[in-house]
C-alpha cells in the first residue's frame, strides 16, 4: 500500500501529471473531488504473478449507476471486488493503489477490511442466499453479526430492505420459509435485500443477472433504476444492452486496462476510442 510518507507524495505528483493530460471537462470534475462518491487511483491487482488490473483511475458520482463492461477476462469483476477488498480473499491475490470512498482510502493501513465490507454492499453472479436460513434470517444475517437483537428494529429493517429490493409484496406472508425455496430471480433480490439491510452507501453488483432468465433479469434492471436514487450502484455486466438501459456512466475495460469511461449515452453513440467502438458494435468479445 503506497499511502504513507514518501510514497503517497509520489502518488500525488503522479496523479497531478495524469490530470494535466486530461481533457478540460474532466478537469472541472477533478476540482469537485469532494462530490465523487468513489475515486479509484492507480489501482493495480494481481492473481499470483498475473496482473489483472493495470493502473485504473476512475471517479464515480453519488447516487448514480455505473456499468463496467468488457469481454470476459478483462478484469471487470476483479475491479469491483477491489472496491470492497473482496479481491484479497482469494488466496494469492493482492491489490495496490487507492480506492477513496467518501474521502477515506479503504486501502489505508489503519482500515479494517472487514468493516469496509459492512459499508459497501455486494451482490454476486449467482444468487447465494444462506441455504439453511429463512427469508427473514437471510435479510438480518448481517445485522445479527453486529449483535442487533432488537426485534422491532429488525422487523422494520426487513420490511424496508425487502421493499427496497422489490421483493416485499411477494414474500411478506412467508418470511419464515427457507430462502432457497424462492425462484432464482427472487433469490437474487433477496440477496440485494440482504445487502441493503446493512445500510450501505455503495452497492456493487457483479453480473447480477447472468444466472437469471430474461423476465427475472428485467425485474432486476428495473430495480437498479430505483436503487440508484438512494445508493451509488456499480454494476458489472457482460450485456451491453443492459449497461445502456440501467447506467448513467459506463466504463469499458480490456485486458486489465480501463480503455474508456464516459457517460453511457456518449459511450454507445459516439465512443472516443476505436477499440470501444469495435467492442460495442460486436466486432469482438
Amino acid at each position: 500500500m503506497t499511502t504513507n510518507g514518501e510514497n503517497s507524495r509520489e502518488d500525488e505528483i503522479k496523479a497531478d501529471k495524469d490530470i494535466d493530460r486530461q481533457t478540460e471537462s474532466e478537469q472541472v470534475q477533478e476540482k469537485q473531488q469532494q462530490v465523487h462518491k468513489v475515486s479509484i487511483r492507480n489501482l493495480e491487482a494481481w492473481f499470483g504473478s498475473k496482473q489483472a488490473l493495470k493502473n485504473i483511475n476512475l471517479d464515480v458520482e453519488q447516487k448514480t449507476a455505473t456499468s463496467v463492461i468488457g469481454p470476459s477476462g478483462c478484469g471487470k469483476t476483479t475491479l469491483i471486488k477491489c472496491l470492497n477488498r473482496m479481491h484479497e480473499m482469494t488466496p494469492g491475490a493482492k491489490a495496490k493503489g487507492q480506492v477513496i470512498i467518501d474521502g477515506m482510502d479503504i486501502y489505508a493501513r489503519n482500515i479494517d477490511p472487514v468493516i469496509i465490507k459492512r459499508r459497501i454492499g455486494m451482490v454476486f453472479q449467482k444468487p447465494n442466499p444462506f441455504p439453511t436460513m429463512s427469508i427473514y434470517d437471510n435479510v438480518v444475517a448481517g445485522l445479527k453479526l453486529n449483535g442487533i437483537r432488537d426485534k422491532r428494529l429488525m422487523d422494520e429493517i426487513v420490511k424496508d430492505s425487502l421493499e427496497g429490493a422489490a421483493l416485499w409484496d411477494e414474500v411478506k406472508n412467508e418470511l419464515g420459509k427457507p430462502g432457497m425455496g424462492l425462484s432464482g430471480g427472487q433469490q437474487q433480490r433477496l440477496c440485494i435485500a440482504r445487502a441493503l439491510a446493512m445500510q450501505p452507501e455503495v452497492l456493487l453488483m457483479d453480473e447480477p443477472t447472468s444466472a437469471l432468465d430474461p423476465v427475472a433479469s428485467s425485474k432486476i434492471e428495473d430495480l437498479v433504476h430505483d436503487l440508484k436514487k438512494r445508493y451509488t450502484v456499480i454494476i458489472v455486466t457482460h450485456n451491453m444492452q443492459q449497461a445502456a438501459r440501467v447506467s448513467d456512466h459506463t466504463a469499458f475495460m480490456y485486458l486489465g486496462e480501463l480503455i474508456e469511461y464516459s457517460p453511457t449515452k456518449k459511450m454507445f453513440e459516439n465512443p472516443e476510442k476505436e477499440l470501444t467502438e469495435r467492442y460495442i458494435s460486436g466486432k469482438f468479445g
Binding site: I115, R118, R119, L143, N146, E156, K172, N173, G176, Q199
Partner: protein
C-alpha cells in the same frame, strides 16, 4: 413460527435507524475481532498440538526403532524370553502371508461387488442393502470380526490358522474396496460404455477392459488403502492366528504377525523386548506408510499427467 418471524405491520412512528445502525456496526467490531482472533488462535493451536503429538509418534518410532534394527533382527526368530536374542523374522513373514492371503480373497470379491453395484444394480432393495450394510460393516469393531472368525474357523477346524486370520482381515477389507470401487466406476463417463455397446462388444468385456481400465487408479487406491488398514490390525489376530515364535509351516497352523508381535513384546518386563517392540513398529510403519506414500505419489504424478493431457 411464521407469527414469531412476521413483521409488525402496524404503522408506528418510524425510527431513523440508519445512523444508529452504522454506529453500532463500527462500535461492536472490537469484540468481534477478539472472538475471531480467539478462534483463529485456537485453530492454529490445534494444528500445532496435533503436529507435536503426531510428530512425536513418528520421531519416537524412528529413533527407538532404528536402534533395534539389524540383519539378525529382521531375519531371526525370537529367542527365549528374557534372553535378549533373536528377532522378528516370523512376524514379518507372517504379516506378508496373512495380509497377502486376505487381499487375495478381499480384493477380487470387493471389486466384483463394486462392479455389481455400479454397473448392474439400480436402487432396488438388494443393492441398497448391500450398500447400507457395507457401510455398517466398515464401522464394526475388528475384535468382533475376530470372534466370528474364531468360532467359524478355529473352532470347527480345531486349530488357530492362517486361514482364520485371512478370513477376518478380508471381512474388514471387503466393504472398503466395495465402496471405493463403486464410487470410482460411477465416475467413468457413460459415452465410453455406449461406444463399446455400439460395437457389439460383450458387456463383461466392456466392464473388464474399458470401464475397469479407465478407473484403474481409483480402484487400486481403494485396495491399497484397505491393505494398509488391515496390515495394522491386531485384535482379530489374537483369536485367529494366535502368534508363534516359529516361521510359517502351513496355512492350517498358527503364524506370527507384526502388530501381534509388538503387543506381545511390550507386555514383557524386559527393556530389550521394548526396544524390539519399537523396531517392529518401525518396520510396520514403513510398510504401511510406504504403501500409502507410494500410492499418493503415483496418484499425484498420474493426476498431473492426466491434467496436462486434458489441457
Amino acid at each position: 413460527m411464521l407469527r414469531s418471524r412476521g413483521v409488525n405491520l402496524q404503522e408506528g412512528p418510524r425510527t431513523n435507524y440508519k445512523e444508529r445502525l452504522q454506529d453500532i456496526m463500527l462500535r461492536r467490531s472490537s469484540r468481534r475481532r477478539l472472538v475471531d482472533k480467539v478462534v483463529s488462535i485456537s485453530a492454529i493451536f490445534s494444528v500445532i498440538l496435533a503436529v507435536i503429538l503426531l510428530g512425536s509418534i513418528l520421531i519416537e518410532v524412528v529413533i527407538n526403532g532404528a536402534r533395534a534394527l539389524s540383519i539378525n533382527f529382521l531375519t531371526q526368530p525370537p529367542g527365549a524370553i528374557g534372553s535378549g536374542l533373536g528377532g522378528i523374522g516370523p512376524a514379518i513373514e507372517g504379516t506378508l502371508i496373512v495380509v497377502g492371503l486376505a487381499s487375495a480373497i478381499g480384493a477380487p470379491v470387493g471389486v466384483l461387488a463394486g462392479i455389481y453395484l455400479s454397473e448392474f444394480a439400480g436402487n432396488g432393495i438388494f443393492p441398497s442393502s448391500v450398500r447400507f450394510f457395507s457401510d455398517v460393516l466398515v464401522g464394526l469393531p475388528s475384535i468382533v470380526i475376530g470372534i466370528v472368525a474364531y468360532i467359524s474357523l478355529v473352532l470347527t477346524l480345531g486349530s488357530f490358522s492362517v486361514w482364520a486370520g485371512a478370513l477376518a482381515l478380508s471381512i474388514i477389507m471387503i466393504p472398503i474396496v466395495v465402496r471405493v470401487t463403486e464410487e470410482t466406476l460411477k465416475v467413468v463417463p457413460n459415452s465410453m460404455k455406449e461406444a463399446g455397446h455400439s460395437l457389439g462388444i460383450p458387456k463383461r468385456t466392456i466392464i473388464l477392459h474399458i470401464v475397469l481400465k479407465s478407473a484403474k487408479s481409483g480402484v487400486i487406491t481403494g485396495i491399497i488403502l484397505a491393505i494398509s488398514r488391515i496390515a495394522g490390525e491386531t485384535a482379530p489376530l489374537i483369536m485367529t492366528i494366535l502368534g508363534t515364535d516359529l516361521f510359517f509351516t502351513s496355512l492350517t497352523g498358527p503364524v506370527d504377525a507384526l502388530p501381534l508381535r509388538i503387543w506381545r513384546l511390550v507386555s514383557q518386563p524386559y527393556q530389550y523386548a521394548h526396544d524390539f517392540g519399537w523396531g517392529a513398529a518401525l518396520i510396520l510403519i514403513l510398510m504401511v506408510l510406504g504403501m500409502s506414500l507410494g500410492l499418493r505419489l503415483l496418484a499425484h504424478r498420474r493426476g498431473f499427467k492426466i491434467g496436462t493431457i486434458a489441457a
